[in-house]
Subunit: 354 residues, 2 copies
Amino acid sequence: MNQDDIKDSDIDIVIGALQPDLTSFLNEWRPVFSRFHLIIVKDPDLKEQLNIPEGFDHHVYTKPDIEKAVGASSTILFSGYSCRYFGYLVSKKKYIISIDDDCLPARDNEGNLVDPVAQHITNLTTPATPFFFNTLYDPFRVGADFVRGYPFSLRSGVTCALSCGLWLNLADYDAPTQALKPQQRNSQYVDLIMTVPARALLPVSGINIAFEREMVGPALFPALRLAREGKLRWETIEDIWSGMCAKVICDHLGLGVKTGLPYVWRSDKGDPIESLKKEWQGVKLMEEVVPFFQSVRLPRTATTTEDCVAEMAKSVRERLGSVDPVFNHAADAMLQWVKLWKSVGSGSSTPGGA
Amino acid sequence: MNQDDIKDSDIDIVIGALQPDLTSFLNEWRPVFSRFHLIIVKDPDLKEQLNIPEGFDHHVYTKPDIEKAVGASSTILFSGYSCRYFGYLVSKKKYIISIDDDCLPARDNEGNLVDPVAQHITNLTTPATPFFFNTLYDPFRVGADFVRGYPFSLRSGVTCALSCGLWLNLADYDAPTQALKPQQRNSQYVDLIMTVPARALLPVSGINIAFEREMVGPALFPALRLAREGKLRWETIEDIWSGMCAKVICDHLGLGVKTGLPYVWRSDKGDPIESLKKEWQGVKLMEEVVPFFQSVRLPRTATTTEDCVAEMAKSVRERLGSVDPVFNHAADAMLQWVKLWKSVGSGSSTPGGA
């Protein structure tokens, strides 16, 4: 789909509210967000009332909405950072953009405010090129092209289904890295967008992402929950897990994943030293998770994202179930997610379909 | 090896001279090149005497030197852009850096002169991370690190054996792209270096590269020669071909390939419209070449780069020999290169060895 054909009403911005007062967050984003519909999902653990400034077309979903849709004793917990996924489920739009509530607009190297919605939509509406690396990066950017040696048959590219943005100031490091380098802040704005090659895995961060809802939504779920998961990003890996599912499925279905621009400015918060006690579980699990996703293969009969997730859940149970009980829980949650997606969500996700 | 342990005498700079007057080229590079030994290989088709300004520690190799080493009726032709490979063969240094004779020093976004030797050596002496993508790119750059979700077991990385630099002004496009966009110039200096993921192929451009000689040299050869190959970069694909061999071999041996910084400034030259007549052969061949390299597998018994090239030559003959006679010639040249490397060159190339 051409970028010019995208209407504002094709886009939902999903915000998981982990803090009650969204006033300064939304006021800072007003120049970017005010044209779009906002889905705000309140962390069900949050007791205080939400504070939302005027002038935004929005809908707030709270604990009763979640319970009504998925039941109180669900395998899937929509608390903490996982609350945002409920927004993915209830959206009916073509594109979803999701940004953490501790992020503010960033500035590029020339000092201009970055519009992450526009950049994510550009990323999603220009082709991705996962099957051969272009040394000048995104060949569809103004002033760039395919380099010598790039096969002409691969130059039309494929649909980009997932766009992963980055972070200035507080980068998305894990607790050990934060604890080891407490002063480290990311100040490098790399003016770049690129397709992650097929069969290469990346840690998808949920802080700042956008995707085609029907194509990728069935693969973005809160399934892997750490035993002592907290309310800080570095205490979670649910996005890393579902991101790897999504990347493997995109590779299987011939869809593209991009990373790079746009940046958001991430505010400081939390004490990484405190989190270290909890985080090691996530760090240890990754040593099992990565080899699994590097080797998992999906059957040819799996032609939709929902099929692929169901197959993946089967493999998770078979190959990781005996390693740690969290993986069995993840497999169950993945299957429940597909069911929810079909009942609450709109269902079909044929790649290329509208 | 630590960057601080690299002596100037560990490095050879190899220049293929396709033009007789190297005065302005070398004078522009004097601040960077004058500390190093230069291997200058004169294109055997070039009749005029070379003009080399004073003050450079250099050795010039000419047609008689080539004939003495490889014989007059060799399968491998060291003419045109291929003359530089003779420099790879006679070097005895740990690192080789090679830059085309139509390139000048570039400036970064702050206007500082780029030192490609220093940057290439940094790339080669810091680890590469081909087995998992880091969304903040090179984790070993100052101010960067591994992001959340990056497995700790993969954070030590592997040896980087090949560093591919880029080009400002005239980018390395093929003749059709140049002809279609005659005004297009690359002005985007992307301040980035990254590892190309394992199993992802890239078109390695020979314009601006550096490598560990013993590890990669046996895989960098002038083997694929187009029927009407000329004296312009876009009329050749010998570097693209050997670059794909090198990437597949690096993947097989667990070595890394980086791309990005450093940039060089490439001068305008030549008429792409004229070259179009010749270029289409290269463009057509790529449609066969890429699927071949995407699927070729090397046996476990191939544990050195020389072994791998010999095995690759066998596969080229078997799978591409019937497609076009240039591939049979390439296979012969690859085998001859390995022989030459063992006799003229120093021989052993055990990865990790000195």
